[in-house]
Symmetry: C2
Subunit: 228 residues, 2 copies
DNA sequence: ACAAAAGTGTTCCTAATACACCCATGT
DNA sequence: ACATGGGTGTATTAGGAACACTTTTGT
């Protein structure tokens, strides 16, 4: 109950720090990728971790997440969803840090990550080739991915990861990358075209003669789909 | 990134308190109910709220939730799921309190809640007749209920709310109470009996001659169902 | 010419839904 | 006798899964 007073012998409010960590997913070259940063300071110096940062005094955690991602990868207005909160007293080896994790979806094409501050590197990693991460971030990443899968099975939100114009095969590869299973091409096309938020453009990809049809997204139809 | 050092101008770690609040769901007299407690102190004195308490220095939040519920309703080993974390800087009128919410499932029959400490009352409320709660707890409750619905659609976890022996009609009423819609009796029975974790007992409810068949749960079959 | 990827329809099966009558008990 | 709630089966439909061949383009 917000700890104003406590029930009986309730331990007193602790002064744990609170951070937001983000599993930023992107899709490029036919692979689902996650943005990782490499620490240049202890603890876990040299380890890759999920980008994150401390909650400010006047900030909600979601704002913390957005600020961190803006500072780090220069991206605004991304799709952001809270996943879970991790509070093991010893998850951080130096002092107590509670963290809340988010997953985010971005189009990697536009945003080259830059390592700043105490980071030595920032780079996209294939989700299938993620190294051992610092802290409990392998767990956070796994949980975030799992939540993304759950959401994707409900609603077609993956298009935040695709460029403006994309082919159905690209969309399928994306779904397969997220879900971790391969899908039947005909069934996938039929199902996805049954929605009315995919618009066939008359354009073809630059440079090629024929090639696959490019589609674009009807944002408002997608919104309607997500809400209705 | 656990805030050991901060990216550029990141605000310094704040000293927000952290609490765990629980939406405890029970089922009795054919109604889905939620356990609420009434505050006897400011802020929100006289208001009903979700039971909760401050995270201890050596505690994970889930342990906080279990401890609070043990102290309040004397129940152990309940089904507990994290829902979300709320961090609006002004969600608590006095000082900054971040809270993580859980939902819990209990059998109300066994556990009469007791108001302790700064509480003037503790009581089960019909979910359909929840008053205006203190803090942002109406929101927490709504989100917790929503998460419970989601989980229930995936897996048959609602049996934690039923007594040892129960009729199929009771189970159906429970499902209807959680999902907020009415179900076809025959379809419900067929679907639920298709699982193999419901065991028909030869007993009938005490006092009645014939009456409906009582079922009990095969815990291990349910576990198998939930995992496999 | 050959290899690689795009495009297209049908069949099958499972799961969800809708629906009506008989029986036993308690009043 | 009547009202209430328990118990049972079938027909329809919608959605998901499986599956093969033809066309175009790039090498």
């Amino acid at each position: 109950m917000d700890g104003t007073l406590n029930i009986r012998v309730t331990p007193q409010t602790s002064a744990a720090a609170h951070t937001a960590d983000c599993a930023v997913f992107g899709f490029s070259k036919g692979e689902l990728r996650v943005l990782l940063v490499q620490r240049a300071v202890e603890p876990f110096s040299g380890y890759w971790v999920l980008p994150g940062g401390a909650m400010g005094d006047e900030e909600r955690l979601e704002e913390t997440a957005r600020r961190v991602l803006l500072e780090l990868v220069g991206v605004r207005d991304l799709y952001l969803q809270q996943v879970a909160t991790y509070s093991d007293p010893v998850r951080h080896p130096v002092r107590r840090v509670v963290t809340t994790s988010y997953y985010a979806l971005v189009k990697p094409e536009n945003h080259t990550p830059i390592a700043r501050g105490y980071l030595s590197e920032a780079a996209w990693h294939k989700l299938t080739e993620v190294p051992e991460l610092g802290f409990d971030h392998n767990r956070l990443l796994q949980d975030a991915h799992h939540r993304l899968i759950q959401h994707l099975r409900d609603r077609p939100l993956a298009f935040d990861l695709l460029p403006e114009r994309f082919t159905l095969t690209e969309a399928q590869k994306l779904y397969e990358g997220i879900l971790g299973e391969s899908l039947d091409r005909r069934n996938f096309r039929r199902k996805i075209l049954a929605y009315d938020f995919l618009i066939e453009t008359s354009e073809k990809r630059a440079g090629v003669k024929g090639g696959p049809i490019l589609y674009r997204l009807d944002r408002s139809a997608l919104e309607r789909e997500m809400n209705g």
